[in-house]
């Protein structure tokens, strides 16, 4: 930082030195009748741009705006060296005479971000640099100032040949290119001003207005020069152009001051509005007004969900922000509170957004608590809806299982027994065969009913959780190590939830994990029971896929518990549940 400051001081000293040099060069020059006015304007342009550029550089060190303004200032001073009677200084001034316009185009198209955001911008700036450096050089080596009527001008040391035609053709092409580029730049600046949000428009208006005026005067001056109109008109336009150029750095200064003023004004009016209270949406409206961005949206941070929600508690995606938007996170006492989702055009007004956010942080925290509550209510509502839906689906499944299983077997059993009754006297052997078939059906029906009943309420739980989990581990096709299970009784809903969590997790291990072993730990710790089912399988389980785990999560949540899944690729899967049981 100290190095940067030293560079900036060096630049300031160099600008003063070059300015004095310009004064001396112009004072000694005799080939322009307006040299006094030009000298004054040149210093205005050079020192004005350099000074405001240094200020902008210190305020926004990361932006290119400051360095570009300084470059414009130096180019303005160099340009004036063309009035010198010394042929070397005259040549430097003549070669750099129009570079200032390319730098100005670069500066204005970069404003306010400091970057050339579009491809068109970059192409225009490239053409401008080529036109003011390469084409200018090409024209100059064929230009003999004395032969062109400037009897007081010094000789051109770079002159290859005074080919009037060549210099004329190159000069005309240079003018045409300049007029076309300037026209395009003015159109872009107008569109940019039109599309900017009100707070930006207020700050940028002076810069864009004076910048556009400068370019319009330059275009007019070039057109007049091309048309060969009287020198008086040309001189008048050139003086007006220099005057406009000299005003431009101060237009930047006004823009900066307005920006700072509007920031303070925005914060104070926001604080006043927040003091007035208001219903839901009042804070958003106040922030929208303070930032001058009607599209502002607020996202509230809900730590328990590790996500943002809107004022209604609905999930809101902030990262990445929607197209054309930026989210600025707001903290209160070191904790994340909310994010202001605003127009991307406010990116350069980060200080303003943070200042406004800081002023509103306490109110944002209050609204965040409301939004968090709504998010929890919404989560409960969704969970309840899923439980109802799952209950309905479960009843459908039970009905289908009963219909397709035991009920069909009992129907067949009925037919067989009716036939056996009819045949018991006429064909005792056939009747016995029918009764045997019936007994077989009865056995199968009983087994199916037992299996079904286990899905509704595991009878094994009647003997306690440890026994029921032992049964689950024993039936699993993957070897299961039951590390720990509570031997005391827990509340029935908790035992049931633990049983089904373990059952579902072990079913998933058998189906998907390709595991060699699994382990189950169920431990009571004070007022909670902790459940953990781990396997050494392939991992990569997606909790969003399938309804089994989500249904379990709802079941656990209904008891104020929490279910978590950890399943990195290739690193096995662990399901953890924590359920209050006090």
């Amino acid at each position: 930082m100290r190095g940067l400051r030293r560079i900036q001081v060096g630049i300031a000293v160099a600008a003063v030195g070059l300015g004095v040099g310009v004064l001396l060069a112009v004072a000694g020059g005799q080939h322009n009748i307006h040299r006094g006015a030009y000298a004054a304007l040149a210093l205005g342009i050079g020192w004005g741009f350099t000074g405001t550029g240094l200020y902008a550089w210190r305020r926004w060190p990361a932006s290119n705006i400051g360095p570009l303004m300084i470059a414009v200032g130096f180019a303005g001073l160099v340009k004036t060296l063309a009035f010198s009677n010394d042929s070397v200084i005259f040549t430097i001034g003549s070669l750099g005479e129009v570079l200032i316009y390319a730098l100005l185009i670069h500066l204005l198209l970069s404003f306010p971000s400091g970057q050339l955001d579009s491809r068109v911008d970059r192409i225009l700036v490239f053409i401008a640099y080529v036109n003011t450096i390469a084409v200018q050089f090409a024209a100059f080596v064929f230009t003999d100032p004395t032969a062109q009527g400037c009897s007081q001008c010094p000789a051109n040391p770079l002159l290859i040949d005074h080919a009037d035609g060549a210099a004329g053709v190159i000069g005309a092409a240079q003018l045409d290119i300049a007029v076309a580029v300037l026209g395009a730049v003015v159109a872009i600046l107008y569109r940019r001003w039109r599309d900017s949000i009100p707070s930006q428009r207020r700050a940028f208006a002076p810069v864009l207005a004076v910048g556009s005026l400068t370019f319009l005067l330059l275009m007019s001056s070039l057109i007049v020069e091309q048309a060969g109109l009287p020198a008086g008109i040309d001189d008048g336009l050139t003086l007006a152009l220099f005057g406009s150029l000299a005003c431009l750095p101060f237009a930047f200064m006004v823009g900066l001051v307005r920006s700072r003023f509007s920031q303070a004004e925005a914060v104070s009016s926001l604080v006043a509005r927040l003091g007035g209270g208001g219903g839901r949406g009042a804070l958003r409206d106040a922030l929208a007004e303070a930032l001058g961005d009607p599209s502002v949206e607020l996202a509230y941070w809900v730590p328990s969900q590790d996500a943002y929600v809107d004022a209604d508690g609905q999930p809101m995606r902030v990262d990445p922000a929607p197209k054309g938007k930026i989210a600025t996170a707001i903290e209160h006492e070191g904790r994340r509170v909310a994010a202001i989702v605003h127009d991307a055009g406010l990116a350069e007004e980060g200080d303003l957004v943070h200042a406004v956010g800081a002023a509103a942080a306490l109110t944002l925290e209050n609204e965040r608590l409301d939004a968090e509550l709504r998010a929890h209510v919404e989560q409960l509502r969704a969970s309840r809806a899923r439980i109802v839906t799952a209950g309905y689906a479960e009843r459908r499944r039970l009905e289908r299982d009963l219909h397709d299983g035991a009920q069909q077997r009992l129907m067949a059993l009925g037919i067989n027994l009716r036939m056996a009754r009819n045949q018991v006297e006429s064909d005792a052997q056939q009747a016995a065969a029918l009764i045997d078939a019936s007994l077989e059906e009865l056995k199968k029906a009983t087994a199916e009913l037992r299996e079904l009943a286990r899905g509704i309420h595991p009878a094994a739980l009647d003997g306690g959780l440890a026994a029921a989990l032992g049964g689950l581990a024993g039936r699993s096709p993957v070897p299961v190590d039951l590390v720990e299970a509570p031997h005391e009784r827990l509340p029935a809903p908790v035992e049931s939830a633990v049983y089904f969590v373990v059952a579902e997790a072990l079913t998933n291990v058998a189906r998907y994990a390709r595991a060699n072993t699994a382990s189950v730990t169920v431990a009571r710790n004070n007022d909670h029971v902790h459940v953990q089912i781990s396997d050494d399988g392939i991992g990569g389980a997606d909790p969003a896929r399938g309804s089994g785990l989500r249904g379990l999560s709802d079941r656990v949540a209904a008891l104020d518990g929490r279910l978590e899944l950890t399943s990195a690729d290739g690193d096995g899967t662990t399901v953890r549940a924590r359920i209050p049981c006090g």
């Binding site: 397709d404 069909q408 129907m411 037919i415 067989n416 009716r418």
Partner: protein, 117 residues
Amino acid sequence: MGKTVLIVDDHPSFRASARRMLEADGYEVVGEAADGTSAIDATRELQPDLVLLDIRLPDVDGFQVAERLAANGAAPAIVLTSSRERSDFGAELDAGPAHGFIPKSELTAEAIALLIR
């Protein structure tokens, strides 16, 4: 030679019991089908005199199968059956082309004979 029968039901245990019952009573069971689509194909191919048709099938229900069999012309006698009771179905049982309905819990060869005589 008794009447020929096609048994349509998606439960093998029920089909086996029904076959045993009908054959004991002199019916000739010419085929079995486990769903509605194969029932329609089997009826076209086997031309049975009687189709014992379960209402709840995995693809189309027994009412639709009966409609399609009747629409094909030269329809066999159709007896609907189900593990549910008559009251579970309402007027739909009487509206279709079937000869009648017998709950599986009451299914006997005599009950079928009464319906199709």
